[in-house]
Protein backbone atom coordinates (compact mmCIF):
# COMPACT_ATOMS: atom_id res chain seq x y z
CA UNK A 1 0.00 0.00 0.00
CA UNK A 2 1.12 3.50 -0.74
CA UNK A 3 1.33 6.37 1.75
CA UNK A 4 -1.81 7.92 3.17
CA UNK A 5 -3.02 9.45 -0.07
CA UNK A 6 -6.62 8.44 -0.76
CA UNK A 7 -6.75 5.69 -3.36
CA UNK A 8 -9.05 5.39 -6.34
CA UNK A 9 -11.04 2.57 -4.71
CA UNK A 10 -11.61 4.49 -1.48
CA UNK A 11 -12.55 7.64 -3.35
CA UNK A 12 -15.00 6.00 -5.72
CA UNK A 13 -16.94 4.58 -2.76
CA UNK A 14 -17.05 8.00 -1.07
CA UNK A 15 -18.27 9.48 -4.34
CA UNK A 16 -20.98 6.87 -4.74
CA UNK A 17 -22.17 7.48 -1.19
CA UNK A 18 -22.15 11.23 -1.84
CA UNK A 19 -19.75 11.73 1.05
CA UNK A 20 -17.55 13.79 -1.21
CA UNK A 21 -18.33 15.79 -4.32
CA UNK A 22 -16.79 15.08 -7.69
CA UNK A 23 -15.77 18.72 -7.95
CA UNK A 24 -13.95 18.43 -4.60
CA UNK A 25 -12.01 15.41 -5.81
CA UNK A 26 -11.10 17.15 -9.06
CA UNK A 27 -10.09 20.29 -7.12
CA UNK A 28 -7.84 18.22 -4.86
CA UNK A 29 -6.08 16.74 -7.87
CA UNK A 30 -5.74 20.15 -9.51
CA UNK A 31 -4.30 21.52 -6.26
CA UNK A 32 -1.74 18.74 -6.23
CA UNK A 33 -0.94 19.47 -9.86
CA UNK A 34 -0.44 23.17 -9.11
CA UNK A 35 1.85 22.31 -6.19
CA UNK A 36 3.96 19.59 -7.75
CA UNK A 37 3.95 20.27 -11.47
CA UNK A 38 6.56 23.07 -11.39
CA UNK A 39 8.96 20.48 -9.91
CA UNK A 40 8.14 17.31 -11.81
CA UNK A 41 6.61 18.50 -15.12
CA UNK A 42 4.72 15.26 -15.66
CA UNK A 43 1.76 16.61 -17.63
CA UNK A 44 1.65 17.70 -21.26
CA UNK A 45 -1.92 18.89 -21.19
CA UNK A 46 -4.21 19.72 -18.28
CA UNK A 47 -7.98 20.04 -18.77
CA UNK A 48 -8.55 22.26 -15.77
CA UNK A 49 -11.72 24.09 -16.80
CA UNK A 50 -13.32 21.24 -18.74
CA UNK A 51 -12.66 18.70 -15.98
CA UNK A 52 -14.22 21.01 -13.36
CA UNK A 53 -17.18 21.63 -15.60
CA UNK A 54 -17.71 17.89 -16.11
CA UNK A 55 -17.37 17.39 -12.35
CA UNK A 56 -19.98 20.03 -11.53
CA UNK A 57 -22.38 18.53 -14.05
CA UNK A 58 -21.89 15.10 -12.46
CA UNK A 59 -22.53 16.57 -9.02
CA UNK A 60 -25.78 18.08 -10.30
CA UNK A 61 -26.93 14.71 -11.68
CA UNK A 62 -25.84 12.66 -8.67
CA UNK A 63 -23.97 9.36 -8.46
CA UNK A 64 -24.53 6.64 -11.04
CA UNK A 65 -23.68 3.37 -9.34
CA UNK A 66 -23.74 1.56 -12.66
CA UNK A 67 -20.56 3.44 -13.50
CA UNK A 68 -17.62 1.90 -11.64
CA UNK A 69 -15.33 4.93 -12.06
CA UNK A 70 -18.00 7.58 -11.58
CA UNK A 71 -16.33 10.91 -10.85
CA UNK A 72 -12.79 9.52 -10.76
CA UNK A 73 -10.17 11.88 -12.28
CA UNK A 74 -7.61 10.08 -14.41
CA UNK A 75 -4.72 10.92 -16.69
CA UNK A 76 -3.77 9.26 -19.97
CA UNK A 77 -0.34 8.78 -21.49
CA UNK A 78 -0.06 11.05 -24.50
CA UNK A 79 0.34 8.14 -26.94
CA UNK A 80 -3.37 7.31 -26.56
CA UNK A 81 -5.89 9.19 -28.69
CA UNK A 82 -8.36 11.38 -26.87
CA UNK A 83 -11.11 13.15 -28.79
CA UNK A 84 -10.68 16.95 -28.82
CA UNK A 85 -7.63 16.71 -26.52
CA UNK A 86 -4.15 17.12 -28.06
CA UNK A 87 -2.28 13.82 -28.44
CA UNK A 88 1.38 14.51 -29.15
CA UNK A 89 3.19 11.22 -28.40
CA UNK A 90 5.84 13.51 -26.91
CA UNK A 91 6.88 14.46 -30.45
CA UNK A 92 7.25 17.68 -32.40
CA UNK A 93 5.76 15.94 -35.40
CA UNK A 94 2.39 15.67 -33.61
CA UNK A 95 2.64 18.84 -31.55
CA UNK A 96 -0.67 20.18 -32.89
CA UNK A 97 -2.50 16.90 -33.45
CA UNK A 98 -6.02 16.73 -32.02
CA UNK A 99 -7.70 13.35 -32.63
CA UNK A 100 -11.28 13.28 -33.84
CA UNK A 101 -11.94 10.09 -31.88
CA UNK A 102 -11.28 8.40 -28.56
CA UNK A 103 -9.19 5.27 -28.23
CA UNK A 104 -11.45 2.39 -27.24
CA UNK A 105 -9.96 2.29 -23.75
CA UNK A 106 -10.60 6.02 -23.29
CA UNK A 107 -14.16 5.60 -24.49
CA UNK A 108 -14.61 2.82 -21.92
CA UNK A 109 -13.13 4.96 -19.13
CA UNK A 110 -15.45 7.83 -20.00
CA UNK A 111 -18.46 5.51 -20.19
CA UNK A 112 -17.50 4.19 -16.76
CA UNK A 113 -17.71 7.75 -15.44
CA UNK A 114 -14.01 8.66 -15.29
CA UNK A 115 -13.00 12.28 -15.87
CA UNK A 116 -10.00 12.79 -18.15
CA UNK A 117 -7.87 15.29 -16.26
CA UNK A 118 -5.01 15.48 -18.71
CA UNK A 119 -2.29 13.82 -20.73
CA UNK A 120 1.06 12.70 -19.38
CA UNK A 121 4.58 13.12 -20.69
CA UNK A 122 6.50 10.24 -22.26
CA UNK A 123 9.52 9.33 -24.32
CA UNK A 124 8.80 10.30 -27.91
CA UNK A 125 6.57 7.57 -29.42
CA UNK A 126 7.25 5.54 -26.25
CA UNK A 127 10.86 4.97 -27.30
CA UNK A 128 12.99 5.24 -24.20
CA UNK A 129 13.46 4.21 -20.60
CA UNK A 130 13.72 7.61 -18.91
CA UNK A 131 11.21 10.03 -20.51
CA UNK A 132 14.26 12.12 -21.47
CA UNK A 133 13.39 11.46 -25.12
CA UNK A 134 10.26 13.59 -24.87
CA UNK A 135 10.66 16.41 -27.38
CA UNK A 136 8.37 18.60 -25.31
CA UNK A 137 9.63 18.62 -21.71
CA UNK A 138 11.74 16.78 -19.16
CA UNK A 139 10.00 15.04 -16.28
CA UNK A 140 11.69 14.62 -12.90
CA UNK A 141 11.36 11.81 -10.40
CA UNK A 142 9.22 12.97 -7.42
CA UNK A 143 11.64 11.19 -5.06
CA UNK A 144 14.70 13.07 -6.31
CA UNK A 145 14.28 15.82 -8.86
CA UNK A 146 17.76 15.22 -10.32
CA UNK A 147 16.72 11.72 -11.36
CA UNK A 148 14.61 10.27 -14.16
CA UNK A 149 11.09 8.99 -13.52
CA UNK A 150 11.81 6.03 -15.80
CA UNK A 151 10.07 5.53 -19.09
CA UNK A 152 8.51 5.53 -21.39
CA UNK A 153 5.40 6.10 -19.22
CA UNK A 154 7.44 8.36 -16.91
CA UNK A 155 4.88 11.16 -16.89
CA UNK A 156 2.13 8.80 -15.70
CA UNK A 157 4.37 7.28 -12.99
CA UNK A 158 5.62 10.63 -11.65
CA UNK A 159 2.12 12.08 -11.79
CA UNK A 160 0.69 9.17 -9.78
CA UNK A 161 3.44 9.38 -7.16
CA UNK A 162 2.69 13.08 -6.75
CA UNK A 163 -1.04 12.49 -6.28
CA UNK A 164 -2.03 14.43 -9.39
CA UNK A 165 -4.88 12.05 -10.22
CA UNK A 166 -6.36 8.79 -8.94
CA UNK A 167 -5.26 6.60 -11.81
CA UNK A 168 -3.36 6.77 -15.05
CA UNK A 169 -3.08 4.70 -18.21
CA UNK A 170 0.39 3.87 -19.46
CA UNK A 171 1.63 1.63 -22.25
CA UNK A 172 4.21 -1.13 -22.06
CA UNK A 173 6.10 -2.31 -25.15
CA UNK A 174 9.24 -3.56 -23.38
CA UNK A 175 8.71 -2.49 -19.76
CA UNK A 176 7.37 1.04 -20.18
CA UNK A 177 4.70 0.65 -17.48
CA UNK A 178 6.59 -1.56 -15.02
CA UNK A 179 9.97 0.22 -15.06
CA UNK A 180 8.69 3.77 -14.34
CA UNK A 181 6.29 2.31 -11.75
CA UNK A 182 9.36 0.79 -10.07
CA UNK A 183 11.34 4.05 -10.25
CA UNK A 184 8.49 6.18 -8.85
CA UNK A 185 7.09 3.75 -6.26
CA UNK A 186 3.68 3.08 -7.78
CA UNK A 187 1.80 0.02 -9.08
CA UNK A 188 2.12 -0.66 -12.81
CA UNK A 189 0.25 -3.43 -14.59
CA UNK A 190 1.03 -4.72 -18.08
CA UNK A 191 -1.89 -6.91 -19.13
CA UNK A 192 -1.72 -9.93 -21.47
CA UNK A 193 -1.31 -8.96 -25.12
CA UNK A 194 -4.86 -8.70 -26.44
CA UNK A 195 -6.50 -8.07 -23.05
CA UNK A 196 -6.90 -4.32 -23.68
CA UNK A 197 -7.81 -2.91 -27.09
CA UNK A 198 -4.99 -1.09 -28.88
CA UNK A 199 -7.43 0.86 -31.07
CA UNK A 200 -6.39 4.50 -30.74
CA UNK A 201 -3.02 3.67 -29.19
CA UNK A 202 -0.44 5.17 -31.55
CA UNK A 203 1.53 2.07 -32.58
CA UNK A 204 5.21 1.59 -31.78
CA UNK A 205 5.70 -2.20 -31.79
CA UNK A 206 2.31 -3.60 -32.74
CA UNK A 207 3.02 -7.18 -31.60
CA UNK A 208 4.35 -5.92 -28.23
CA UNK A 209 2.34 -2.82 -27.24
CA UNK A 210 -0.20 -3.12 -24.46
CA UNK A 211 -1.89 -0.41 -22.39
CA UNK A 212 -2.48 -0.85 -18.68
CA UNK A 213 -3.21 0.87 -15.37
CA UNK A 214 -0.70 2.81 -13.27
CA UNK A 215 -2.12 3.37 -9.81
CA UNK A 216 -1.38 3.83 -6.12
CA UNK A 217 -2.61 0.37 -5.12
CA UNK A 218 -3.33 -3.09 -6.50
CA UNK A 219 -7.12 -2.84 -5.98
CA UNK A 220 -7.01 0.44 -7.96
CA UNK A 221 -5.25 -1.42 -10.74
CA UNK A 222 -7.98 -4.10 -10.69
CA UNK A 223 -10.73 -1.48 -10.77
CA UNK A 224 -9.24 0.18 -13.85
CA UNK A 225 -8.46 -3.11 -15.59
CA UNK A 226 -12.11 -4.14 -15.12
CA UNK A 227 -13.13 -1.18 -17.26
CA UNK A 228 -10.53 -1.18 -20.02
CA UNK A 229 -10.33 -4.96 -20.69
CA UNK A 230 -12.28 -6.88 -23.27
CA UNK A 231 -12.75 -7.59 -26.92
CA UNK A 232 -12.95 -4.73 -29.38
CA UNK A 233 -14.02 -5.32 -32.99
CA UNK A 234 -11.77 -2.39 -33.96
CA UNK A 235 -8.61 -4.24 -32.83
CA UNK A 236 -8.25 -7.59 -34.56
CA UNK A 237 -5.64 -8.70 -32.02
CA UNK A 238 -7.88 -8.01 -29.02
CA UNK A 239 -8.97 -11.20 -27.32
CA UNK A 240 -12.52 -12.37 -26.73
CA UNK A 241 -11.48 -14.30 -23.62
CA UNK A 242 -14.05 -13.50 -20.91
CA UNK A 243 -13.16 -10.65 -18.54
CA UNK A 244 -13.48 -11.76 -14.92
CA UNK A 245 -14.24 -9.18 -12.22
CA UNK A 246 -10.71 -8.45 -11.03
CA UNK A 247 -11.88 -6.56 -7.94
CA UNK A 248 -14.04 -9.48 -6.88
CA UNK A 249 -11.06 -11.76 -7.43
CA UNK A 250 -9.09 -9.79 -4.84
CA UNK A 251 -11.72 -10.63 -2.22
CA UNK A 252 -11.46 -14.32 -2.96
CA UNK A 253 -7.92 -14.89 -1.74
CA UNK A 254 -6.55 -13.97 1.66
CA UNK A 255 -3.12 -15.56 1.63
CA UNK A 256 -0.65 -17.22 -0.69
CA UNK A 257 -1.06 -20.78 0.65
CA UNK A 258 -0.53 -23.43 -1.96
CA UNK A 259 1.01 -21.05 -4.49
CA UNK A 260 4.34 -21.81 -6.13
CA UNK A 261 6.27 -18.68 -7.05
CA UNK A 262 9.00 -19.36 -9.60
CA UNK A 263 12.25 -17.44 -9.33
CA UNK A 264 13.94 -17.36 -12.73
CA UNK A 265 17.64 -18.07 -12.10
CA UNK A 266 18.68 -16.03 -15.13
CA UNK A 267 17.09 -12.92 -13.59
CA UNK A 268 18.09 -13.34 -9.96
CA UNK A 269 21.70 -14.11 -10.86
CA UNK A 270 21.95 -11.03 -13.08
CA UNK A 271 24.07 -8.10 -11.96
CA UNK A 272 21.99 -5.60 -9.99
CA UNK A 273 22.65 -2.94 -7.41
CA UNK A 274 22.99 -4.20 -3.82
CA UNK A 275 19.97 -2.17 -2.68
CA UNK A 276 17.73 -3.67 -5.38
CA UNK A 277 19.03 -7.13 -4.54
CA UNK A 278 18.34 -6.77 -0.83
CA UNK A 279 14.94 -5.07 -1.20
CA UNK A 280 13.78 -7.79 -3.61
CA UNK A 281 15.11 -10.63 -1.45
CA UNK A 282 13.20 -9.22 1.52
CA UNK A 283 10.04 -9.54 -0.56
CA UNK A 284 10.83 -13.21 -1.09
CA UNK A 285 10.78 -13.67 2.69
CA UNK A 286 7.40 -11.94 2.81
CA UNK A 287 6.15 -14.22 0.04
CA UNK A 288 7.15 -17.28 2.05
CA UNK A 289 5.65 -15.85 5.25
CA UNK A 290 2.38 -15.39 3.35
CA UNK A 291 2.33 -19.11 2.69
CA UNK A 292 3.74 -19.49 -0.81
CA UNK A 293 6.59 -21.74 -1.80
CA UNK A 294 9.38 -20.25 -3.90
CA UNK A 295 10.91 -22.53 -6.50
CA UNK A 296 13.89 -21.91 -8.75
CA UNK A 297 13.01 -22.07 -12.46
CA UNK A 298 14.95 -21.68 -15.68
CA UNK A 299 14.26 -19.32 -18.55
CA UNK A 300 17.30 -20.36 -20.59
CA UNK A 301 16.77 -17.93 -23.49
CA UNK A 302 15.86 -14.70 -21.68
CA UNK A 303 19.47 -13.56 -21.79
CA UNK A 304 18.72 -12.94 -25.49
CA UNK A 305 15.53 -11.05 -24.66
CA UNK A 306 16.95 -7.55 -24.99
CA UNK A 307 18.61 -8.16 -28.37
CA UNK A 308 15.54 -9.96 -29.80
CA UNK A 309 13.24 -7.33 -28.37
CA UNK A 310 15.10 -4.38 -29.88
CA UNK A 311 15.29 -6.02 -33.32
CA UNK A 312 11.55 -6.73 -33.35
CA UNK A 313 10.52 -3.43 -31.76
CA UNK A 314 12.69 -1.37 -34.12
CA UNK A 315 11.53 -3.33 -37.17
CA UNK A 316 7.89 -2.80 -36.26
CA UNK A 317 8.57 0.86 -35.42
CA UNK A 318 10.19 1.52 -38.78
CA UNK A 319 6.99 0.32 -40.48
CA UNK A 320 4.56 1.95 -38.07
CA UNK A 321 6.24 5.35 -38.12
CA UNK A 322 6.20 5.51 -41.92
CA UNK A 323 2.77 7.13 -41.50
CA UNK A 324 4.39 10.31 -40.15
CA UNK A 325 5.09 11.84 -43.52
CA UNK A 326 3.67 15.37 -43.28
CA UNK A 327 0.62 14.58 -45.43
CA UNK A 328 -2.40 13.80 -43.24
CA UNK A 329 -1.49 15.22 -39.84
CA UNK A 330 1.24 16.89 -37.90
CA UNK A 331 4.21 18.97 -38.92
CA UNK A 332 5.21 19.49 -42.55
CA UNK A 333 8.39 21.12 -43.79
CA UNK A 334 7.22 24.00 -45.93
CA UNK A 335 10.36 24.53 -47.97
CA UNK A 336 10.41 21.29 -49.93
CA UNK A 337 9.45 21.61 -53.59
CA UNK A 338 8.70 17.96 -54.29
CA UNK A 339 7.15 15.07 -52.40
CA UNK A 340 10.13 12.88 -51.59
CA UNK A 341 12.08 15.86 -50.39
CA UNK A 342 9.09 16.89 -48.26
CA UNK A 343 8.99 13.44 -46.60
CA UNK A 344 12.71 13.50 -45.78
CA UNK A 345 12.84 17.06 -44.53
CA UNK A 346 9.64 16.71 -42.49
CA UNK A 347 10.73 13.49 -40.81
CA UNK A 348 14.31 14.56 -40.16
CA UNK A 349 13.31 17.87 -38.66
CA UNK A 350 10.35 16.80 -36.55
CA UNK A 351 11.35 13.35 -35.27
CA UNK A 352 13.80 13.15 -32.39
CA UNK A 353 17.19 11.49 -32.51
CA UNK A 354 16.23 8.26 -30.73
CA UNK A 355 13.19 7.83 -32.94
CA UNK A 356 15.32 8.30 -36.07
CA UNK A 357 17.91 5.90 -34.70
CA UNK A 358 15.27 3.21 -34.18
CA UNK A 359 13.58 3.76 -37.53
CA UNK A 360 16.97 3.41 -39.24
CA UNK A 361 18.07 0.28 -37.37
CA UNK A 362 14.57 -1.15 -37.99
CA UNK A 363 14.98 -0.39 -41.68
CA UNK A 364 18.40 -2.06 -41.64
CA UNK A 365 17.21 -5.30 -39.99
CA UNK A 366 14.33 -5.57 -42.45
CA UNK A 367 16.40 -4.76 -45.53
CA UNK A 368 17.13 -7.29 -48.27
CA UNK A 369 19.97 -9.56 -47.25
CA UNK A 370 19.57 -8.94 -43.52
CA UNK A 371 15.97 -9.93 -42.89
CA UNK A 372 16.77 -13.57 -42.09
CA UNK A 373 19.84 -12.76 -40.02
CA UNK A 374 18.03 -10.28 -37.78
CA UNK A 375 14.26 -10.07 -37.95
CA UNK A 376 13.57 -13.75 -38.59
CA UNK A 377 16.26 -14.83 -36.15
CA UNK A 378 14.80 -12.58 -33.43
CA UNK A 379 11.32 -13.98 -34.11
CA UNK A 380 12.67 -17.53 -33.76
CA UNK A 381 14.29 -16.66 -30.44
CA UNK A 382 11.01 -15.07 -29.45
CA UNK A 383 9.42 -18.51 -29.91
CA UNK A 384 12.11 -20.08 -27.68
CA UNK A 385 11.51 -17.41 -25.02
CA UNK A 386 7.77 -18.04 -25.18
CA UNK A 387 8.43 -21.77 -24.76
CA UNK A 388 10.69 -21.03 -21.77
CA UNK A 389 7.82 -19.26 -20.02
CA UNK A 390 5.33 -22.03 -20.87
CA UNK A 391 7.78 -24.58 -19.52
CA UNK A 392 8.33 -22.55 -16.33
CA UNK A 393 4.58 -22.36 -15.70
CA UNK A 394 4.52 -26.17 -15.59
CA UNK A 395 6.43 -25.92 -12.32
CA UNK A 396 5.00 -22.75 -10.80
CA UNK A 397 1.91 -20.53 -10.79
CA UNK A 398 3.57 -17.13 -11.08
CA UNK A 399 7.08 -15.83 -11.63
CA UNK A 400 8.78 -13.18 -9.54
CA UNK A 401 11.84 -11.05 -10.32
CA UNK A 402 13.26 -7.56 -9.91
CA UNK A 403 11.92 -4.98 -12.39
CA UNK A 404 15.10 -2.99 -13.07
CA UNK A 405 18.69 -3.67 -11.96
CA UNK A 406 18.92 -0.28 -10.21
CA UNK A 407 16.85 2.49 -8.69
CA UNK A 408 16.19 5.61 -10.77
CA UNK A 409 19.33 6.86 -12.48
CA UNK A 410 20.34 10.51 -12.86
CA UNK A 411 18.99 12.73 -15.62
CA UNK A 412 21.57 12.73 -18.41
CA UNK A 413 23.40 9.65 -17.10
CA UNK A 414 22.59 7.36 -20.04
CA UNK A 415 21.59 9.75 -22.82
CA UNK A 416 24.79 9.50 -24.84
CA UNK A 417 24.94 5.73 -24.79
CA UNK A 418 21.78 4.24 -26.32
CA UNK A 419 22.94 0.63 -25.88
CA UNK A 420 23.52 1.19 -22.15
CA UNK A 421 19.99 2.61 -21.93
CA UNK A 422 18.56 -0.46 -23.73
CA UNK A 423 20.34 -2.81 -21.34
CA UNK A 424 18.39 -1.38 -18.36
CA UNK A 425 15.41 -3.32 -19.81
CA UNK A 426 16.82 -6.82 -19.13
CA UNK A 427 14.10 -7.90 -16.70
CA UNK A 428 11.12 -6.58 -18.64
CA UNK A 429 11.41 -7.13 -22.41
CA UNK A 430 11.03 -10.94 -22.52
CA UNK A 431 7.54 -10.72 -21.04
CA UNK A 432 6.41 -8.52 -23.93
CA UNK A 433 7.99 -10.90 -26.44
CA UNK A 434 5.94 -13.71 -24.91
CA UNK A 435 2.80 -11.51 -24.69
CA UNK A 436 2.27 -12.31 -21.01
CA UNK A 437 0.96 -10.15 -18.13
CA UNK A 438 3.14 -8.64 -15.41
CA UNK A 439 2.77 -6.24 -12.52
CA UNK A 440 5.31 -4.11 -10.68
CA UNK A 441 4.59 -3.15 -7.06
CA UNK A 442 6.76 -1.19 -4.62
CA UNK A 443 9.10 -3.48 -2.68
CA UNK A 444 10.38 -0.71 -0.40
CA UNK A 445 13.06 1.98 -0.46
CA UNK A 446 16.66 1.21 -1.39
CA UNK A 447 19.03 1.44 1.59
CA UNK A 448 21.66 3.41 -0.40
CA UNK A 449 19.65 5.96 -2.35
CA UNK A 450 16.37 6.00 -0.42
CA UNK A 451 14.61 5.63 -3.78
CA UNK A 452 11.77 3.20 -4.52
CA UNK A 453 12.55 -0.33 -5.63
CA UNK A 454 9.92 -2.37 -7.45
CA UNK A 455 9.29 -6.08 -7.67
CA UNK A 456 7.63 -7.79 -10.58
CA UNK A 457 5.22 -10.70 -10.84
CA UNK A 458 4.58 -12.41 -14.13
CA UNK A 459 1.77 -14.78 -15.02
CA UNK A 460 0.53 -17.04 -17.78
CA UNK A 461 -1.61 -15.54 -20.57
CA UNK A 462 -4.85 -14.11 -19.17
CA UNK A 463 -3.70 -14.92 -15.64
CA UNK A 464 -4.37 -11.38 -14.40
CA UNK A 465 -6.69 -12.57 -11.61
CA UNK A 466 -4.02 -14.58 -9.83
CA UNK A 467 -1.40 -11.94 -10.58
CA UNK A 468 -3.50 -9.23 -8.94
CA UNK A 469 -4.42 -11.48 -6.01
CA UNK A 470 -0.80 -12.27 -5.21
CA UNK A 471 0.32 -8.66 -5.70
CA UNK A 472 -2.58 -7.45 -3.53
CA UNK A 473 -1.74 -9.77 -0.66
CA UNK A 474 1.93 -8.79 -0.76
CA UNK A 475 1.10 -5.12 -0.98
CA UNK A 476 -0.68 -5.39 2.36
CA UNK A 477 2.25 -7.19 3.95
CA UNK A 478 4.94 -4.81 2.68
CA UNK A 479 5.69 -1.49 4.42
CA UNK A 480 3.82 1.52 2.97
CA UNK A 481 5.96 4.09 1.19
CA UNK A 482 6.07 7.62 2.62
CA UNK A 483 5.17 10.65 0.51
CA UNK A 484 7.86 11.19 -2.18
CA UNK A 485 10.83 12.86 -0.55
CA UNK A 486 11.41 15.66 -3.06
CA UNK A 487 7.86 17.02 -2.92
CA UNK A 488 6.62 19.28 -0.18
CA UNK A 489 3.62 17.76 1.50
Amino acid sequence: MYHDMRTLCTTRLLLQKKEIKVSEVVEECLDNIRQTEPDIRAMLHIREEQALEEAREMDRQGPDNEKPLWGVPMTIKDVICTRDIPTTCGSRILENFVPGYDATLVQRLRQAGAIILGKTNMDEFAMGSSTENSALQTTSNPWDLSRVPGGSSGGSAASMAAGQSLGSIGTDTGGSIRQPASFCGVVGMKPTYGRVSRYGLVAFGSSLDQAGPMTLSVPDSAAVLNVISGHDPLDSTSSNAPVPDYLDALEKRKDLHGLRIGLPRQYWEEKMSPEVDSACKKVLETIREAGARTVPVDLPHVQHGVASYYIIAMAEASSNLARFDGVRYGYRDQEARELLDMYRRTRSRALGEEVQRRIMIGTYVLSAGYYDAYYKKAAQIRRLIHQDFMQAFEDCDLLCSPVVPSTAFRLGENVDDPLQMYLTDIFTTSLNLAGLPGISIPAGLGHETGLPVGIQFMGPAFGEELLLQAAGILEQSLPALPFPAALKE
Binding site: P233, A307, E338, L339, R344, R347, Q380
Partner: protein, 94 residues
Protein backbone atom coordinates in the same frame (compact mmCIF):
# COMPACT_ATOMS: atom_id res chain seq x y z
CA UNK B 1 29.14 -5.56 -42.21
CA UNK B 2 31.14 -2.42 -41.77
CA UNK B 3 28.67 0.33 -41.01
CA UNK B 4 30.22 3.65 -41.96
CA UNK B 5 28.90 7.15 -42.56
CA UNK B 6 28.00 6.45 -46.19
CA UNK B 7 26.12 3.32 -45.25
CA UNK B 8 24.17 5.21 -42.58
CA UNK B 9 23.17 7.79 -45.20
CA UNK B 10 21.93 5.00 -47.46
CA UNK B 11 19.78 3.52 -44.68
CA UNK B 12 18.49 7.02 -43.95
CA UNK B 13 17.43 7.41 -47.57
CA UNK B 14 15.56 4.08 -47.45
CA UNK B 15 13.77 5.26 -44.30
CA UNK B 16 12.88 8.64 -45.86
CA UNK B 17 15.19 10.46 -43.49
CA UNK B 18 18.25 12.56 -44.11
CA UNK B 19 21.30 12.88 -41.89
CA UNK B 20 23.98 15.53 -41.65
CA UNK B 21 27.56 14.23 -42.03
CA UNK B 22 28.16 14.72 -38.27
CA UNK B 23 24.99 12.84 -37.35
CA UNK B 24 25.80 10.04 -39.80
CA UNK B 25 29.23 9.71 -38.17
CA UNK B 26 27.75 9.54 -34.69
CA UNK B 27 25.06 7.07 -35.78
CA UNK B 28 27.67 4.87 -37.49
CA UNK B 29 29.49 4.40 -34.17
CA UNK B 30 26.27 3.76 -32.26
CA UNK B 31 24.86 1.40 -34.92
CA UNK B 32 28.04 -0.69 -34.84
CA UNK B 33 27.59 -0.97 -31.06
CA UNK B 34 23.90 -1.81 -31.16
CA UNK B 35 23.96 -4.11 -34.17
CA UNK B 36 27.11 -5.76 -32.80
CA UNK B 37 25.13 -6.51 -29.64
CA UNK B 38 22.26 -7.88 -31.74
CA UNK B 39 24.73 -10.18 -33.49
CA UNK B 40 25.04 -12.09 -30.19
CA UNK B 41 21.85 -13.89 -31.28
CA UNK B 42 23.98 -15.86 -33.74
CA UNK B 43 25.16 -18.00 -30.83
CA UNK B 44 21.69 -19.53 -30.56
CA UNK B 45 20.87 -22.48 -32.77
CA UNK B 46 17.43 -21.78 -34.19
CA UNK B 47 17.35 -24.32 -36.98
CA UNK B 48 13.85 -25.67 -37.35
CA UNK B 49 12.34 -23.12 -34.97
CA UNK B 50 9.16 -21.54 -36.31
CA UNK B 51 9.32 -17.74 -36.00
CA UNK B 52 6.89 -16.18 -33.49
CA UNK B 53 5.58 -12.96 -35.00
CA UNK B 54 2.67 -12.18 -32.71
CA UNK B 55 1.22 -13.45 -29.43
CA UNK B 56 -2.20 -13.52 -31.13
CA UNK B 57 -1.04 -15.90 -33.86
CA UNK B 58 -3.55 -18.23 -35.52
CA UNK B 59 -6.30 -15.68 -35.04
CA UNK B 60 -8.36 -15.12 -38.12
CA UNK B 61 -10.70 -12.19 -37.86
CA UNK B 62 -13.07 -11.70 -40.75
CA UNK B 63 -16.11 -9.50 -41.01
CA UNK B 64 -18.41 -8.16 -43.68
CA UNK B 65 -16.83 -5.36 -45.66
CA UNK B 66 -19.30 -2.61 -44.80
CA UNK B 67 -18.93 1.14 -44.88
CA UNK B 68 -19.17 2.80 -41.49
CA UNK B 69 -19.19 6.50 -40.78
CA UNK B 70 -16.70 6.95 -37.98
CA UNK B 71 -15.23 10.43 -38.36
CA UNK B 72 -16.32 13.60 -40.08
CA UNK B 73 -14.19 14.64 -43.05
CA UNK B 74 -13.77 18.13 -41.64
CA UNK B 75 -12.33 16.71 -38.40
CA UNK B 76 -9.84 14.57 -40.29
CA UNK B 77 -8.78 17.42 -42.57
CA UNK B 78 -8.43 19.82 -39.64
CA UNK B 79 -5.20 18.04 -38.71
CA UNK B 80 -3.73 18.15 -42.22
CA UNK B 81 -0.93 20.64 -42.91
CA UNK B 82 -2.46 21.47 -46.31
CA UNK B 83 -5.87 20.63 -47.76
CA UNK B 84 -8.58 22.13 -49.92
CA UNK B 85 -11.57 21.06 -47.86
CA UNK B 86 -11.85 17.82 -49.79
CA UNK B 87 -8.37 16.44 -50.43
CA UNK B 88 -4.94 16.46 -48.85
CA UNK B 89 -2.62 18.65 -50.89
CA UNK B 90 1.01 17.57 -51.34
CA UNK B 91 3.96 19.05 -53.24
CA UNK B 92 4.72 17.99 -56.80
CA UNK B 93 5.11 14.19 -57.08
CA UNK B 94 6.79 13.81 -60.49
Amino acid sequence: MNIDKEYVSRIAALARLETSPEQAGKFAVQFRDIIGYMDSLNQVDTSGVEPFYSPSENMSVLREDETRKTCRRSEILANAPHHDGEYFIVPRII
